[in-house]
Structure formats: C-alpha cells, structure tokens
Symmetry: none
C-alpha cells in the first residue's frame, strides 16, 4: 500500500523573495503552467494585495489542474477577520485554497506582534475560521515553528491544535530561519504527530541556510509529515527554500520513498525535469547551477579518468541513477573516445549522420573547444553548434555574404520637446553574386522593439534576394547578454532565441568585445540556420 | 568533555575533478596556504604521478601546519606493492601521510578489477602494510563502501577489518556515487562501528548528488565517525563533495556539535571563512554562489517586508546565526516587497536620514514600485536607488543635463581586407549653463572595451566641465543585460557596476526598449552617484 505525498510549490511566492529575482506577471504565468505540467498539487501564486505583479497575476489567474493558492497572513490584532482589508485582499483573489502565515513562537508573538499568547490563539482561530466560513480550503503556515517549539513546546503545539480545530486542512510547520538541523526536525515532527496533529494534515517547509533543506524535508517525511513545500531550483529568501527539483526525483526514484509513496508527478513529467529547471533559469536570466543534483549540467559528468573508463563498461559503476530518468545526460569530457560518441549523439539529433571513427568528429571537437575558449557556449545554442558542425563537415551551403553594416542610435528632443530615440541600420550583402543594400529604422514609441539590434535584423531581412521570402515568418523572441571571458579578455556573449510560423524555436550565439557585433553574429546564425533547415526540408 | 573531530580537506584532489576546474601548481599552493590558515587537519594535495601539475606541487610542497597528504590507489593486481610504480610515485612525494583508495564493493572487485574477493583482501593488506613499512601514516579510502555494504555487508566489513589490522590509522567510508541518503548513512556507519571499526579511526566522505552531502556527513558524525572529508565551496566530481565551507560553521556554531566537539579551527579563522570562500572563487574565476549557506552574498539578505521590519527590531527574529561569526554581512535589499522600516534602514546606510512616519517614505516607496513595474530592479542597484530617493527628498543637486547623443557602430573591411568595427559616440551636455559637445571612438583591436556603450561612456566623461576631474578614476567593471517586462511590453534592463580609485564599487540600473538608451541611463546614474558622493564628502 502506497501513501500519498502532497507537493506544494511556492516558487511564485517564497521564490520571489530570492535576492535579484523580480518576476513579471507574464513570467509568473509561464512558470505556473510549467509547474502544472510537472504535476505538483498546489501552486502558491503570490500574495494578493501586496504588490501590483501579484494582483495582476490573480486577476487573470491561469487555469491549472493544480490548486492555485493565494498566500496572506492572519488578521491583524485589534480588528475582526471580516474587517481586515489585508486578509480581504487575499480572499478577493478568489482561489479555492488560501494559505495564511501566523505566529507560533512566543518570542515573536510578544516581540513582533506585541500581544499576549492568548490573544494570538484567538487571532489564529478567528483567521482560520473566517477562511473556512468563506468556503475556502485553509492552510496554515506555522512561522518559526521549530524555534518556537524549542523555546516553548506547549505553546507552539497549542497554536497548531487551535488552527486544526478551527478547520485548517493543512498545518505546515516552518523552519523559517533555516537553522534547525535534520535530526531535530525529525524528532520535533514526530513529537507534533504524537501530540495529536495527524501526519496527513501536516506539511513541512524548510530553508537551506545550513545546506540541509532537502535532508530536513526528508526527516519530516520519515517522521510522518505528508505535505512538502519547496521551490523549483531552490529559489527563495536568503539561501533558498527546499529544492523541489531535487526532492521530486528523490521521492520518485530513491528508496525507501519510491516504493512507499505516490505523488501527482508521472514518470513522463519527471523526464522533463531538467528542461523545466533550465527553462526557469532562462526566464530569470540566471546561469544554471552546473553542480545541481539531478538536473545540473555536471550532475552526470565523469571527469576522473578511472571513473570515465569504468562508466564506459557499465554506467552504474559511478552513477546512482540513470540520467535519462530526469531528462539529463551523461557527459564524458570531450577529449577522449567517449567524447566522440557523445558528439555523434548530438549530431544525430541535428540530422547529421557521421560514422563512428570519422576524423571529422575530431575536427568538430577541436572547433567547439577553440570556440568555447573564445567565450562561445553551445549548451543551449544548438543551432549555432549545428552550423559549426556543418562547416567542419563541408555540408554548409553558400548562402549570402555580409559585406558591411552600420547602425546608429540617436537620442534627442523631438518637435514637441520630448526626448525620443531613433535607430537606423544599413546592411550591405552579396547574394547570388549581386550586391544589395538595405536600410531600416526603429523609432521610439513604435512597437516594442526599438533598439539597434532590431534595426539591424530588419535591414538584414529586407533584401536577401531569393531567401527573403523564406525568413518572412522569423521572429526574434529573446535576447540574453552576458559578459564572459574570451581568452584573456572580457567579451560579450549574446544568445538569441528565434521562432518561425511553423512553431520552430532555435537558439544561436555570438561573441565579441562589441555588443552590436556579437548580436549581429547571433542574428546571422539564426537566419542561416533557418535557411539551411528549410532548404533541406524539415527532416533533412 | 569534548571530543576531537578531524577535518580532512580534499579540495586540491577531489575538488580538481569539478567540471571546468583546472588548477595550476601556483593556484594549488595558494589554496593550500588558505586551508592551512583556516586550520584544517589534513590537506590532500593531489595524486603524485597522475599529472604534471600534481607532480610539480609535491616537488615544491608548501610548508603547512596541516598534514599534507598524497593520494593514490592500492597496488595493482599481479605485482607486489614494492614493485608497483604507480604506488611508488605516490610514496616518492615524501609526505608523512598517504591516503590510498581501494575497493570494498564485490561488484567493483570482480567487474572493474577482475579479481576474486580474496585476492582483493590480500591486495588491500599488502598495500597498507607497504605504506606502514615505509614509515607513513596510512589512510584508506573505502570506495563505494555504502553501495558495497548494501550489496554484501560481510565482505565490505571484511575489507575494512583487513586494512585496520594492516595498520591503517584512518578508514574513510565513501559514498562515491552520492546516492545514499542520510538515514542510511547513519545506520550503516553505526553498524560499521558496532562491527569493530573504532569511531576515532573512522572517516566519512560523501558527494552531493542528492543535495545531502552535508546531512550525510552529520549523520555519520552522529553515529560516531570522527573524521570528515570535504572541499571548500563544495567543489568536486559531478555535483561536488561535502561542503566544508558549510560543515565547519555547523560544527563550530550549531548544537549539538558546538558543545560536543572541538576542531583545529579557531573562532578567528571562522570569521575569515567568507573571505576564504570568495578567494577560492576568484582564483577559479567562478561567480560566487549567492545563495550558499553561511558565506553566500544572499545568506543574510532579508527581502520580505515583514522579515526586514522584524530584523530592524532584533536580528535573531530571522537569522539563525550572527553573520559576523563567519565574516558575512546582513543585507536589506530594496524591492516592492519591502516596507517603510526596511526603506529607512536602507536610506540610513546611504547617509540619508528620514524620520519615522515622514510622508517622503511613502513617496519613495511609490516611486520604487512604479519604477519596478516599468522593469527596473533595485535589489543590487543601490546607487540608482539612492539617486531616486534623493530626487523624492529634494536632495538631488543640479549637476548637468544631457541634451542629445548619437552612437554609430560600423563594421566593414579595412585596407588589409579584414573585417573591423568602429564605434563612434557624440554627446552634447549642458553644464553650468554652457553647452559642451564631445566625440569619442572605440576601435576593434584596441583594448578590450570596443562597443557603443564604451564609446558613449568615454564621450560623456570627456567634457563635463568642473566635474570632469572628479570622474577621472571611474571605471566600468561589469555590465549585465536582460530582457524583462516593462508594463505590457518587453524592455531591456541594463545593470552596470562601476569602480573608482578609492576602492568604491557601485551598481546602477537603466531600462528602455532600446539597449543603448538603457545602457546610457545606467551610465548617467553611475556618474551622478559618484559626483553626489564626492561633493558631499565620503561620510555625507
């Protein structure tokens, strides 16, 4: 008999507390859909009333299978739950489930709220009862529960019992400051259950301040808690929350959890985990953490010579799971034979067949290494990788040649005495032996793309002779810039994501000390990839 | 009575297996000195004979208080320990302590070594005996011990007993593949000790594949192991080794460890931990992990408004330790999550005193929120935040006005038929009622900054009248770009880090649909902040 574990995601709320993270409403929607596709049970969407982004998110709330949950706090002292406008704003979001945070640590009751311990119990009771009376499923986040329990276990427990009696479906015990170690989390969780809070009403919420958030969560599950809270990629306040990207594969793949529990996450969804993790980093323009468990680019990279040779005989010698289960891949450093089999796999994905042992494989590896030393990165820029491989294989058709270009950005007052910008680009190309010159401009206040890169893209696309019609449906959808190291100096790396009318999406990379040149190089690759693809037909 | 815990660092050996890390000999020496200053007991320096870097390191071995240890493997089958040249190379490094890795998992004995289980026992015995006979302290790394124990506990234990009887001072049980969870590590460690391996001869070596390396190490210590192995910043094969940068403060500051154990690390050395961690990242040119426990830049950053206001009353409300104990610092970032008390604290840090309840606080918060809705972010761009606050407070001096600017990037063939780029910028400013026009250019192949932003920065700085001399020592040190949402459309956000000759470093932000305009705005803020700061004197 398996037991059900409930997974509660708070990427959109606690994850938003990550220093440097500021979601837009659209980004929150994108992430909500990704979480729903993954199969979590709850998606905590934010705090309605706390900021304009969260308000806008709940106003046009995404349709999800997961329970979309609004977060807030217990009513304030001195007013009734009915008259508390902060709580009202949370309820007005109209979600079926509402999670409110409240105090269970005597020090915080008297110090932060400045009320008596009994007054806090009343406040907890009335807040939860108000949610239930409003027809909502009520969840209670017991803030600082572990520290509170250590200071005054009777009082901390009486808070939990009060909200349980008031009708809370889930009571989530939080190690808010992240300082409690796994053994203590396990012991206290067991004591909470022994005191009468049923495990199937008990959740665990931990933080990673001692790098133990995952272990603390497992300790609470071992002790009987049946809801786990966390975030994708371990985003969150300070050092982050418990990392669901790690916990999910542990619970689904590792014993004793795999046999004992079931969750809403399917094997198929699990195999998309690495992509989901990288997608979140892309949305946030964060560098993916290479050494992340399960989904990191290095998680199955075998660098030690002894390991690499054993892996070639049997991957279980140095891998605790099959990387494909989480959508990740084995990496054997590019320098040895195994590097070539890796490369062949990637070429096949691009529709390029190269025989085992073909000397071209060595040439491509060398070219990739040389480019990477200059600052290029081909992890995501698969389209640029493919073009590089085609060059090395002599399979790159002659398309067109850019002879020169010039782009100007000018910012000055217009006739209404308002500062406006104008970008103008001139591009000279040679197609089929013929020189063609195009000019394009992007103006302030017209559309949303108004910079030099857009002006260059428009000019380049304007007249490519026989190819012009083939790139009409192309669109630049994202643009990421990073300063990186190219040899001994700092260079700019630009990654461009493009899309076409057939729903294809591809990424290209450009590197230069000049941001415009780097962007132009990535743009050129984007167009060349599209042309090569369409010239050879969709399946090569 | 406290017990002694031994700390064994393998940054220079297992840490070298990190994907993308390639130490030079000089870097290994630098790191060895930093580890010695920290106070670890053992420094594993590398594998003599395995590569030229490690050979050179041991040839000119640094003088350390810690025991410098050479790493190697047990003798190969079919030759005597005396005649094994791989083992001889390890001994020839001349270290007092030698650690060798060997098999304890029946699958690896028969599959990887291709010998019988008994032959492996003989091999282990002879290898350790040879180290002891050579007058060395012998350590044994029991590779794949946990997986081996799960497969065949009797055989795995017989390997440990064999090396103990042969004279090994320490037996280190390794979770080589990183797949064993903390509860199981604790149980097996206790069983190993119950089977006769004394805890004060037992070490633990874990990997972070399930994000549990720290928890697994603590579980082994709880069970009685008295040596812990790990690396600085958790470097290491795949997802890395147990992170000593996290384990050290846990063992020194958190209970039950702080009262129960002593180590070679002093309180003073602990207060240098954050610097040691950042220094290692600098040596490796890695971006420090902001959310790292204890030493991360975000480890004590309080972004949630409720947290920030409580922290202002009493830091223990949301901090599990005092950040100064590990040489880190508290940060209250500004964002639309933040409340007025947070804001006042941040203003005070900027030398701006505003009374509690001053209506200006509300105005500043509104201004910040409105800007964030347009795509600005003030978490890191403290200098731009300060300028915004000064405007709202009417404390922003008139400096200069930019009337217009124009920047051109041109790429074409030079007279040697090589493609080169030229960026040219013209800026017109009004300073002290006088219009000044400056022009500047950045060429390909000259210096490392060759883009339009650099050309604009140079033109802007060229003639600012009385202010020119004040910004002479300013330098743009980093430049980050991302596409984000500004209201309903995509905009570009640029964050610029600047530095001056007095060692100040500050960050500014600009947002526009045009990347050049966004960059120019961030540049202007950088100059304005520097001028305001120097005009009012370093302490306001």
């Amino acid at each position: 008999m398996t037991e059900r574990l409930t997974i509660y995601d708070t990427t959109l709320r606690d994850g938003q507390q990550t220093q440097g993270v500021q979601f837009s409403t659209e980004e929150k929607q994108q992430i909500a859909h990704a979480l729903d596709a993954l199969g979590v049970d709850y998606i905590e969407g934010g705090w309605p009333g706390a900021n304009p982004t969260d308000n806008a998110f709940f106003e046009a709330a995404p349709q999800t299978t997961a329970r979309l949950t609004a977060f807030g706090m217990t009513k304030r002292p001195g007013i009734s739950a009915q008259n508390d406008d902060v709580l009202a704003a949370v309820l007005n979001a109209g979600t079926k489930s509402v999670c409110i945070v409240g105090k269970t640590h005597e020090f915080h009751v008297t110090k932060a709220l400045g009320i008596t311990l009994d007054e806090n119990l009343t406040l907890l009771r009335e807040s939860i009862a108000h949610l239930v009376a409003s027809g909502r499923e009520a969840l209670f986040d017991a803030e600082h529960f572990f520290d509170g329990y250590k200071a005054n276990p009777d009082y901390a427990l009486s808070c939990l019992k009060t909200v349980l009696e008031a009708g809370a479906r889930w009571i989530v015990i939080c190690d808010t400051n992240g300082g409690t170690l796994p053994a203590e989390v396990g012991r206290i969780t067991a004591e909470v259950i022994a005191a009468g809070i049923p495990g199937d009403h008990l959740g665990i919420h931990t933080h990673d301040d001692t790098e133990n958030a995952v272990a603390c969560t497992l300790a609470a599950v071992d002790a009987g808690a049946r809801q786990i809270q966390g975030t994708l990629n371990g985003l969150g306040e300070r050092c982050g929350n418990a990392n669901l990207t790690t916990l999910i594969p542990i619970l689904l793949l590792k014993e004793p959890y795999a046999s004992r529990f079931e969750t809403g996450i399917t094997t198929k969804a699990l195999s998309g985990l690495t992509r989901t993790s990288r997608m979140l980093d892309e949305i946030l323009n964060r560098v993916p953490h290479k050494q992340a468990g399960f989904v990191g680019a290095s998680a199955f990279a075998h660098k030690a010579g002894l390991h690499a040779s054993a892996i070639a005989k049997d991957p279980t010698t140095y891998e605790h799971i099959d990387p494909a289960l989480v959508g990740n891949a084995r990496i054997i450093p590019m320098s040895n034979q195994a590097g070539q089999s890796n490369l062949r796999k990637r070429l096949t994905e691009a529709g390029l067949h190269v025989d085992k042992g073909d000397p071209a494989l060595g040439r491509i590896l060398e070219a990739v290494k040389a480019r990477e030393a200059e600052g290029y990165a081909y992890d995501t820029a698969q389209a640029s990788f493919e073009l590089l491989a085609r060059e090395a294989l002599g399979q790159m058709p002659e398309l067109f040649e850019v002879k020169r270009y010039r782009v100007t950005v000018e910012r000055r007052k217009n006739k209404y005495d308002k500062m406006v910008s104008l970008s103008e680009a001139v591009v000279v190309v040679k197609v089929d032996g013929e020189k063609r010159q195009s000019v394009s401009e992007s103006m302030d206040e017209v559309g949303s793309d108004r910079g030099p890169v857009n002006a260059l893209a428009k000019a380049l696309a304007k007249d490519l002779g026989q190819y012009s019609s083939m790139i009409e449906d192309m669109r630049l959808v994202d643009f990421k810039v990073r300063i990186t190291q190219g040899g001994t100096e700092a260079v700019t790396r630009v990654i461009i994501d493009s899309e076409d009318g057939q729903g294809n999406r591809w990424s290209t990379v450009g590197v230069s000390a000049n941001i415009v040149d780097a962007s132009f190089e990535a743009l050129l690759d984007a167009i060349r990839w599209k042309l090569v693809r369409d010239l050879k037909g969709p399946k090569g």
